[in-house]
Amino acid sequence: MARRWSRPLAGFAAQSRDMMMVNMTAASEQAARDVIYESPKDTSRYLANHNFSINEPDETFDEGRRDVSRNDALANARRAIAALRPGDVFHVVNTTPYGEFLEYGTSRMAPYAVYQKAANNLREKYG
């Protein structure tokens, strides 16, 4: 008697791909929201210069870019996240020259640790 699966196993491929994308999208959204909302505002130059891209890091910096409402940064992130496909890598990059001082602090200032906190949250939630 021939034994067969009641359903074709290939059907699970699409399902597991979908589940992977749910996690991928949620983790990317968390990374984006963390860096955007943990950023100090001040001139908003630093927070406007978070770059969100897929597979290739975007290391550009625009001196004149501003985003007082944080909406543009979030919209940029959502645009990149919407284009994610299975197996892609989501990059969040900020090359603002004084970004290092915000991240690690100085002798006059405690660290904001924007990216370190985002990384720690991702590690806690997604392992």
Binding site: T106, S107, P111, Q116, K117, N120, R123, E124
Partner: protein, 135 residues
């Protein structure tokens, strides 16, 4: 065990730091102690402690949800400029030794990592970070 409070987290970390046998420390939001002021004045090593809060979770729910809070303990280690990286490395080792895997009142500190920041405004700086979990 009762759920961790933000104050209990602060207490565990800062009390542990208070018995560290190292250099003068600047606590977050507190005025600088005379010892710290003297060290900075004399260009001697000092450390600033900052507790960074991350996400909180409720890994199990029900009648009394269990809360887990997470974050980072960060130490900015400042040593005199132009004396190499050894003084900063030794202080980072001392802090790691004192804090790594320390547990108290439901809080656990994890492994220490160092980020070299280097020369900064007359100092040489290392940043020591230890993730923590409470609850």
């Amino acid at each position: 065990m009762a759920n961790p409070t933000f104050e209990s987290i602060r207490l565990v970390i800062e009390r542990r730091l208070a018995i560290w046998d190292g250099v003068p420390v600047e606590y977050d939001g507190a005025p600088q102690s005379p010892a710290l002021k003297a060290a900075i004045e004399a260009k001697q090593s000092w450390v600033r402690c900052t507790i960074q809060h991350g996400d909180s979770f409720a890994p199990y729910k029900g009648a009394s949800p269990g809360v887990r809070r997470t974050g980072l303990t960060q130490f900015q280690v400042f040593t005199p400029e132009r004396q190499g990286s050894r003084p900063a490395a030794l202080l980072a080792d001392s802090l790691a030794e004192h804090f790594q895997f320390y547990r108290d009142a439901g809080l656990e500190l994890l492994t220490a990592s160092v980020q070299r920041v280097g020369p900064e405004n007359g100092w040489y700086m290392y940043l020591v970070s230890l993730p923590w979990r409470a609850g």
